[in-house]
């Protein structure tokens, strides 16, 4: 650090009251920004849990499907048609739906049932107990061991439940990358068993999962599916659709925007005001420095350094606070939907840069305007 920057640093941090106020302002703003965007990211990841867990590169669905949890049944010919399309390596049906199970203690619990293609079990989760072939056994279900697992009375291999007067037996315990958004346990079974056990409308295929021969075939497959009157989305597009749905059709986007604006306003008003006051209080001394022989660029450098140092320190503290609170929340609620992403960090960083730039702009303007002559006049 050069002497001038160290001078700027000492002037800043030695004024403990102002420096603390500056840090509190930026830290709080970053914390708010990080928290609200992390919540949104977490919600989005959990809302797209099935897309991530099943992991198919291409999903064929009814054009009106907006999120993975709200599927519209498709007739069986769609599966046949997709299988015959150029560029398709293979295609399998997927059932996804909600059901009510009766537990051994007589309580009822809503569950999500995923029905995997009977032949390939494409999209099956990784088992941590049991054997995958047991899913073909009579009444066989696999349960996902996630944060909602206990809602099914912590089942083990052999645990039984009732689903529409059908007996269900847990034959495997699985783990998945992400649990769902709505706090509902997930059961996996075969496609045929799912549509047999759960009352369904006329069309039962929720999605057709497609493995293309190569990624370059995806556009062609999408075109052919479009011509059929349906829609094919890549995993990423489907997740983006889900995110868009929450952003633009649920009020989530407006809330997110409001919270982001509040964070920005809090940060700018608290830190900007305090930084400007700090500059004003030191204005005469900046004038004295000018008289002694400091150039304008020296003073601009000092102010920019002070603003940047404060901003980045506050940025680090804000992130640390946010991560700490998310970890604390996760300790009590394992499925707590908040997730720090590079995107969140980028947004918060951008906000901090703007706050630092605006704060230093007004400070610099004031300092550049001061005439050393004023210092002589007292």
């Amino acid at each position: 650090m050069t002497g001038i920057l160290k001078l700027a640093y000492k002037l800043l941090v030695n004024d403990k009251a102002k420096f603390s106020a500056l840090l509190v302002g930026i830290t709080f703003a970053v914390y708010l920004m990080m928290f609200v965007t992390s919540m949104f990211s977490g919600v989005m990841v959990h809302a797209s849990a099935n897309i991530l867990n099943i992991g198919a590169p291409l999903w064929v669905m009814d054009p009106y499907v907006e999120t993975v949890s709200n599927s519209v049944g498709m007739p069986a010919y769609v599966l046949d048609a997709v299988r015959s399309m150029q560029g398709v390596k293979y295609a399998v049906p997927l059932y996804s739906g909600g059901a009510l199970v009766k537990l051994s203690d007589g309580n009822y619990q809503t569950v999500t049932v995923i029905g995997l293609d009977d032949t390939s079990l494409y999209g099956r989760p990784e088992l941590i107990a049991g054997k995958i072939q047991d899913i073909y056994a009579e009444n066989g279900f696999m349960v996902v061991k996630d944060a909602e697992f206990s809602k099914l009375e912590n089942p083990h291999i052999g645990s039984e439940f009732e689903l529409n007067d059908n007996r269900g037996v847990i034959v495997g315990i699985a783990k998945v990358a992400t649990s769902g958004l709505y706090g509902i346990p997930t059961l996996y079974t075969t496609y045929e068993r799912a549509i047999q056990y759960i009352p369904n409308p006329r069309f039962t295929i929720s999605y057709v999962l497609v493995e293309p021969k190569s990624t370059s075939d995806i556009p062609r497959i999408k075109q052919q599916v479009e011509a059929l009157g349906y829609r094919a989305r890549t995993k990423e597009e489907f997740m983006k659709n889900t995110e868009d749905f929450f952003l633009y059709k649920t009020g989530g986007g407006t809330n997110l925007l409001i919270m982001m604006l509040i964070s920005f306003t809090v940060g700018l008003s608290l830190s900007g005001q305090t930084f400007y006051t700090f500059i004003l209080e030191n204005l005469e001394r900046f004038g004295a420095l000018k008289a002694i022989g400091a150039k304008n660029r020296d003073l601009v450098g000092m102010i920019l350094f002070q603003a940047t140092f404060t901003a980045f320190t506050g940025f680090g503290l804000g992130i640390a606070l946010c991560v700490l609170l998310i970890l604390l929340a996760r300790a009590r609620l394992p499925s707590y939907a908040a997730m720090v992403t590079f995107g969140n960090l980028g947004i918060s960083f951008g906000m901090v840069v703007v706050i630092a730039a605006v704060s230093s702009y007004f400070g610099i303007r004031r300092v550049l305007k001061i005439e050393p002559f004023e210092i002589f006049r007292g």
Binding site: M1, T2, G3, I4, K6, L7, K10, L11, N14, D15, N282, E284, R285, G287, A288, L289, K290, A291, I292, G293, A294, K295, N296, D298, E371, P372, F373, I375, F376, R377, G378
Partner: protein
Amino acid sequence: MPKIAIQASGLVKWFGEGEAKTTALNDVSLEAQFGEMVYVVGPSGSGKTTLLSVLTGILKPNVGKVLLEGTDIWGLNPDQLADFRLGKIGFVFQDYHLFPRLTTAENAAIPLILKRKPWNEALQEAEKYLDVVGLKSRAELPPVKLSGGEQQRVAIARAIASQPDILIMDEPTASLDGDTGVAILSFVQKNVLNNDRCIVVVTHDDRIYKFATRILNMEDGRLKGSEKSAI
């Protein structure tokens, strides 16, 4: 033959326009040599501070020329002028303008830091000047823990740290009691003034006149001539 440190001729400075126009300097010319401690005295509003600002390259005159060690300072661009001030002129301000959040040594080191000296080196050098003004033992204290006289001496240490050829003192006793003011100027005369340095003091404190080599009277923006010459 003594060398000329300051040579100003035909300085005119006015503020405002039309009816609001005030002439602060009206055809002021002066010379000061190395080894001199020149006082500029006069009542408030006589133009002393304006003269000081014009002589040090802080306020541009409307008319006139200022040569410091032969350099026409108003022919320099702003960066050159800042460098010139940093290298050649030391300032002791009326209100000291010390940074309260820095230590005494850090305050005294400011001109050296502005000269891009490494931090530790600048502090070590500044301590030498604090020693000159008798405050080495107070190097780690903030200025607020010092008395008014001590703060003034820190300001002097800061002013001489860059080894300026010209030292400017603006009302150096204004914030001090009589005895301290006299002691400070006595100290400056004995320890700071030398044959390679010219000191210009603006004051209206007649208790310190005895330390001047020459006293210039200023009234209504004009220099009225010398009251005393010790040369």
